[in-house]
């Protein structure tokens, strides 16, 4: 069992797809580098931190993008974002069985902040257009850097999120909140707290994610069961609105995720962070988000 979190972006792709099926678009040899980083005297990458291409999963064609957390925390710049947007747009005409987004990103790359922000909004629009066309977009989040900022919003725009316990999902990172609002608002050094707020278990309990163990095989197994589109319509959004309103009313003012888990009727909620994935899923079965 090879770990997802320890793998590079291309190792994740290779482990997920059928052997030898991956074909990369704009591979590193094509040198799609960020001119803005160079201008600031920063090291650049020949793929600008993301690999995009096509392959098969159990024989079905998929388009796939994988962000490389080791390069600038997977942050989105102009070229990086345009590669993902181009892939999503390609899927509208090519109509693969799904588009897989292997995300690991701190959000907008500050060195090219305006271009990164606009690029994220273009990714968001492209995801929504693809969903309207009925092609499912699935996020796999299991990297060490987690998924934050605009890519955290993008994640929640997609049909399905598959996430490991060790991964994190949020909007503002804990360090940013601590720096801006003070340590009493969010103590970013308290790792247990950070994971109770942003980790895969809390996101699963809230109904935002499907939890898997930190292995490429586990992600692959969950993926095969998740490749159906979930239409966005006025009716489905009204249902989502009711769910989110209920969550806000019941849990919006609670101090800690453990209080939320208790209010859902989970026995001994403080033990949840210690359970392995299977035991955790057993413990939260039937809990009311």
């Amino acid at each position: 069992m090879s770990s997802w979190s320890e793998a590079t972006a291309r190792q994740r792709i290779a482990g997920l797809l059928d052997a030898g099926s991956f074909i990369e678009f704009l591979p590193p040899e094509r040198r799609a580098v960020s001119p803005h980083l160079r201008e600031l005297g920063q090291p650049a990458a020949f793929d600008d931190g993301v690999a995009v291409g096509r392959g098969t999963l159990d024989g079905q064609t998929v388009l796939i993008a994988a962000q490389e957390g080791a390069f600038m925390g997977g942050a989105v710049g102009e070229v990086h974002g345009a590669k993902i947007t181009g892939l999503l747009e390609r899927a509208r005409t090519e109509r693969p069985a799904a588009v897989l987004l292997l995300l690991e990103s701190g959000g907008v790359r500050l060195h090219e902040a305006n271009a990164g922000l606009i690029a994220v909004s273009e990714i968001m629009r492209a995801v929504l257009a693809l969903r309207a066309a009925g092609v499912p977009v699935i996020v796999l989040n299991g990297g060490r850097y987690g998924v934050f900022g605009g890519m955290g919003i993008t994640t929640c725009l997609c049909d399905t999120l598959i996430m490991s316990e060790e991964a994190r999902l949020g909007l503002s990172g804990p360090e940013v909140i601590e720096t801006t609002m003070g340590v009493e608002e969010f103590d970013a050094a308290d790792r247990a707290l950070v994971w109770r707020v942003t980790g895969g278990k809390n996101r699963t309990i809230l109904g935002e994610a499907t939890l898997v163990a930190d292995s490429i095989d586990a992600f692959r197994a969950a993926l095969v069961a998740a490749m159906q589109p979930k239409p966005l319509t006025l009716e489905t959004l009204e249902a989502e609105h009711a769910t989110l309103g209920n969550r806000l009313d019941r849990f919006g003012d609670m101090e800690d995720a453990v209080d939320i888990w208790a209010a859902m009727g989970i026995d001994n909620p403080q033990r949840l962070p210690l359970l392995d994935t299977d035991a955790f899923l057993q413990a939260v079965k039937g809990a009311g988000a």
Partner: protein, 236 residues
């Protein structure tokens, strides 16, 4: 510009807009208005409220255009909001706007105060067309903070921002890069009517083309097109 000064200029024939704290909604001249004021931080509750208004407009007023007037310093920085997944609330607002667009509601964004990061992402950057007042401020982060985070000297950032639209705050940069279609000046009611008369296909995002044509963003268009059009034999 203050919202109290802006609304009469946008709707000289009158409007019916209700304020509640930093949130407001209503209509003027048959245009639905949803907005925030006083540099509101977009938290789960505010995003939820705005999304609910979009859904209500879809239900009760099919086809009615929507004007977003969002003055925001960005997302709310809050442990409680993050705990219940703030990004899901902001994404929900984005989905509601997209479904409204596809049901025939034209969506116009006007930056009249500040537009920062996720607050901008979840509102005017999702509109069919986004405009700004000349005095509006659009940014991800100011240069001193950017200098601290990137560890690049402030003087260097300031010097580069003279020639590059890519990272420094400012409406002009966002126009050059195609994210803001243009400025509204003079007769604002007329500007609104002109914007409403335009047409945008929900599946076409022209901002890259605008950014390239205006010389502010030279790579996004080409890179996306190369990925879209890459033929596998050519790819290696």
């Amino acid at each position: 510009m203050k919202i109290d000064d802006l609304l009469p200029q946008l709707f000289p024939n009158g409007y019916d807009i209700a304020f509640d704290g930093d949130y407001f909604a209503g209509q003027g001249d048959g245009v639905a208005v949803i907005g925030t004021r006083d540099r509101a931080a977009i938290g789960a509750e505010l995003a939820f409220r705005m999304a609910g208004e979009v859904l209500r407009i879809c239900r009760d007023h099919p086809g009615r255009p929507i004007l977003l007037l969002v003055d925001t310093l960005g997302q709310k920085m809050s442990r409680k909001d993050e705990t219940i997944c703030l990004n899901a609330y902001i994404a929900h607002l984005a989905k509601c706007l997209d479904v409204a667009r596809r049901r025939g509601h034209r969506i116009i964004g006007l930056v009249y105060g500040e537009a920062v990061s996720a607050g901008f992402l979840s509102s005017s950057l999702l509109a069919d067309a986004c405009y700004a007042l000349p005095e509006a401020e659009v940014k991800v982060m100011n240069l001193p903070a950017m200098s601290r985070v990137t560890k690049i000297p402030l003087e260097r950032l300031e010097a580069l921002s003279e020639t590059s639209a890519v990272f420094a705050p400012g409406v002009a940069n966002y126009i050059a890069m195609g994210a803001v279609r243009g400025l509204w000046e003079g007769d604002l009611a007329r500007c609104l009517q002109d914007a409403l008369a335009g047409q945008d296909d929900p599946d076409t995002d022209r901002r890259r083309e605008d950014g390239e044509a205006r010389g502010g963003r030279l790579l996004a268009c080409r890179v996306a097109a190369e990925v879209r059009g890459a033929v596998p034999n050519d790819a290696a």
